[in-house]
């Protein structure tokens, strides 16, 4: 079966008992057991739930993994992966990552004696020199957030493995519709399922997909022990969203590419960061690592710095001012004051997250409607609606 067909059918087999074409939603917290000391397939919903299991089956297929685990949020999934490390271990992470991951690594993992080093993972030599015997986990995001940098997953996997470390890839921006990191050698794929997987801005969730049973078992042990599992109603909504995942991601990516080209040709914009533009440093890598589109996130810089960016994000109408991304509704935000406010100001400067940066999450609306909105907001005479 091809990808889109698997989005619809894998993990959504007809219900054997009733024939229901959509599996029932199991809200049960606990399950009746056959006998004392004898356990059925499900015992307690933290340990496993049929509705969550269906979503995990779908995700494992889409990401070409041996299995998946669904979490209550993306950060719960990241946290579970970092708990593979112990005191004295080190995590080497990309510098272009979600602000919440940055915060977890620097403010929480450090309390357990796990250190983090940030490097620009677009620079493989820099990555290699950051790796040591202490490195247990390499964490990358590609396309990166918010700079849309493209990291070579295959090369990172080779480097990590040479140093006995695992490679985890946050695949939230690309989604398995465009990139499947496990096929490129990664060990773990992480998702904020809140974004493209769910796709409708109405369910929080996270996921880890593993490339080996041993790793999956270890992650499952941590998940079951710490308890940040996905609620079944949200698992149902995310499974429902995945049925249109490929259609949405391809359509949104195509709209994003055309918006990026229009912004790139526009004098009011000083720089456009989009991996589908030929001028982007990761263009060729993106073309080989992402199939069917370059993603639906576009960042750009406006002249005039913080105030100009702030004014722009407050002026658009169809692009709504909010953090998060990946849904049918287009969103706009200013990383310096919103999604990446958790970064230390010094790290933002060091890694190029400028005050004039604006990040777009391109939704499902028609291209001309979105362009009209951006064009109007970029015009100097336009002021914020009151």
């Amino acid at each position: 079966m091809r990808f889109r067909t698997r989005c619809i059918h894998v993990g959504n087999q007809r219900d054997q008992a009733t024939g229901a074409v959509v599996p029932p939603v199991h809200l049960a917290s606990t399950y009746v057991q056959p006998a004392a000391g004898e356990w059925g397939e499900f015992d307690y919903s933290r340990s496993g739930n049929p509705t969550r299991r269906n979503l995990e089956t779908t995700l494992a297929s889409l990401e070409s993994g041996v299995g998946a685990l669904a979490f209550s949020s993306g950060m719960a999934a990241v946290h579970c992966a970092t708990m593979l490390c112990g005191q004295g271990d080190e995590i080497v992470a990309g510098s272009d990552i979600y602000g919440g991951t940055y915060r977890l690594l620097h403010k929480i993992c450090t309390r357990s004696g796990i250190d983090t080093a940030l490097v620009r993972t677009t620079d493989l030599a820099a990555l290699e020199s950051a790796l040591s015997d202490r490195t247990r986990l390499v964490w990358i995001e590609t396309p990166g957030n918010p700079l849309l940098s493209i990291t070579d997953i295959k090369a990172c996997a080779e480097l990590a493995h040479q140093h006995g470390a695992l490679l985890a890839v946050d695949n939230t921006f690309a989604t398995p519709a465009l990139t499947r990191p496990l096929e490129l050698g990664a060990d773990i794929v992480m998702h904020s399922a809140t974004k493209y997987l769910g796709g409708h801005s109405d369910a929080l969730g996270g996921a880890l997909v593993a490339n080996s049973q041993e790793l999956l078992d270890e992650l499952y042990f941590i998940q079951n022990a710490t308890g940040a599992t996905l609620a079944s109603w949200d698992a149902f909504l995310i499974s429902r969203g995945i049925k249109t995942l490929e259609l949405r991601v391809q359509a949104q990516s195509e709209t994003a590419r055309q918006l990026a080209e229009r912004l790139d040709a526009d004098d009011r914009v000083s720089r456009v960061l989009y991996p589908g533009l030929t001028g982007h440093p990761g263009y060729e890598l993106a073309a080989s690592q992402m199939q069917g589109g370059s993603g639906a996130m576009v960042s750009f810089e406006v002249t005039g710095g913080f105030d100009s960016a702030k004014s722009l994000v407050e002026t658009t109408a169809l692009f709504q001012l909010a953090v998060s991304l990946g849904a049918v509704e287009s969103l706009i935000e200013q990383p310096a004051s919103m999604s990446h406010a958790s970064y230390d100001a010094e790290d933002r400067r060091r890694f190029g997250i400028s005050d004039g940066l604006v990040r777009l999450s391109v939704g499902l609306e028609d291209l001309d409607d979105l362009w009209q909105d951006l064009d109007r907001a970029l015009s100097p005479e336009t002021t914020r609606e009151t």
Binding site: M1, R2, F3, R4, T5, I8, H9, N12, R14, G19, V21, V22, H200, S201, D202, L237, R240, K243, T244, L247, R248, A251, R262, A265, D266, A317, L318, Q320, A322, S324, A327, V328, E329, L331, G363, L364, E365, D366, D368, D369, W371, Q372, D375
Partner: protein
């Protein structure tokens, strides 16, 4: 660079945003689900103000729900209508409309390929209240005009019809009605507002089983009628009395399904056309009923009035009896055997078995349901997978 500025938002923009407030409760990006059965008033004077001044607020769940208002506005916008009313199912929608519009002694005329349960409701139930139902051959506008008399109130058709995919010439249909001062209802479930705008042709009421393409995920039941506020006032009032409302959770799932409506319909149209073309070229196939094909009886009018032809494809298997036809259905691995249509999952059925099993062979001939007929409701799977599956089912 100069890019075209749209005057009307595009269909995908409407699917995502139409009917919704820009700023919602709690600044949430999505509308909340209002599970409440009733709505409180601050004091007795507020109740009196509500009754006397008809303040736009909720009172009791059977009369309306804030989430329902949003979905109704979105559906009205998609269908170019002034107002939409949501129901618990498509059949609830048409039956309330009929009960609201027809009095004892009134007559209604159907094109005979309309959904058999709609005709059954009129023939067997409204007849008990003295409403007379007449049927004429689908697409016979002379017979339609001849069936009208001074008691006729409503002309009803589906377009396209199910399973024959006949397409009504809405211009002629409306002209006949207007000449005689009669109202019109089109069940456009198979067309959807993405492919057809009956109200733009002068039709008075558009009906959809929202269970199908509008919701799109085979996971809720709902119905909707769209038309002018004035004409629908009695329908909304009667719904409030009879109570077949859409539940709050389903209202939300419908709104969520509508977000990808335009995107899904493009794919249903593409898959329907590709499957119909494949079947027409297959040597085991006798006839394909799909209005996008030049060979279809109504292709010309379909091409003029519709922007796409949907995902439903009906066909007959050459020289096959009912059992050999059932073998093709049973041989399908991807499409699942079930009634209904319009969801992301492809569904397949043999009309003889699923809908007409209890009819006599003579009745089936009368209804145009041969033993070797199969109805395939194409989902949005990859077209290569759908065709490969059909090909292997036909090779067994």
């Amino acid at each position: 660079m100069n890019h075209k500025r749209p005057t009307q938002p595009g269909p995908s923009t409407l699917s995502v945003h139409a009917g919704e407030s820009r700023q919602k409760h709690a600044n949430s990006i999505t509308d909340p689900i209002f599970a409440a059965s009733t709505y409180t008033f601050a004091d007795s004077q507020s109740v009196i103000d509500y009754i006397e001044q008809k303040l736009p607020r909720e009172e009791y769940g059977r009369y309306g729900n804030p989430g329902e208002r949003v979905v109704e506005a979105k559906l009205a916008s998609l269908d170019h209508g002034e107002e939409a009313i949501l129901f618990s199912s498509g059949m609830a929608a048409i039956s309330v409309l009929m009960m609201a519009k027809l009095n004892s002694g009134d007559e209604v005329v159907f094109f005979d390929e309309c959904y058999h349960r709609s005709r059954e409701f009129c023939n067997q139930h409204l007849s008990r209240f003295g409403v007379v139902t007449r049927q004429v051959p689908t697409g016979d506008y002379d017979a339609l005009a001849a069936a009208i008399n001074d008691k006729t109130r409503l002309l009803v058709s589906e377009s396209p019809t199910n399973p024959h995919m006949s397409v009504v010439d809405l211009g002629q249909f409306v002209e006949v009605a207007r000449t005689h001062g009669v109202e019109t209802l089109i069940d456009a479930t198979l067309a959807t507002p993405f492919n057809l705008q009956p109200l733009d042709h002068g039709v008075d009421y558009v009906l959809h089983s929202a269970t199908k393409y509008l919701a799109g995920h085979n996971d809720l039941l709902a119905g909707v009628i769209v038309g002018s506020t004035e004409k629908l006032e009695a329908v909304r009032y009667l719904r409030g009395i009879m109570g077949p409302i859409c539940g709050a959770q389903n209202i939300y799932l419908l709104q969520r399904g509508l977000k990808t409506f335009a995107l899904r319909m493009q794919r249903h149209n593409d898959n329907g056309m590709a499957v119909a073309t494949f079947l027409e070229g297959h040597d085991r196939i006798e006839t394909v009923y799909y209005p996008g094909l030049a060979s279809h009886r109504d292709h010309t009018i379909a091409a003029e009035t519709m922007s796409g032809f949907g995902g439903l494809v009906t066909f007959t298997v050459k020289d096959a009896d009912w059992r050999q036809t059932a073998d093709v259905v049973d041989g399908a691995g991807l499409a699942r055997i079930a009634p209904s249509l319009g969801g992301v999952e492809s569904l397949i059925e043999q009309p003889l078995v699923v809908s007409y099993y209890e009819c006599t062979p003579e009745e089936r001939i009368e209804y145009g349901i041969p033993d070797n007929m199969i109805r395939l409701a194409c989902g949005i799977e990859d077209i290569e997978d759908l065709i490969a599956d059909l090909n292997q089912a036909l090779s067994k």
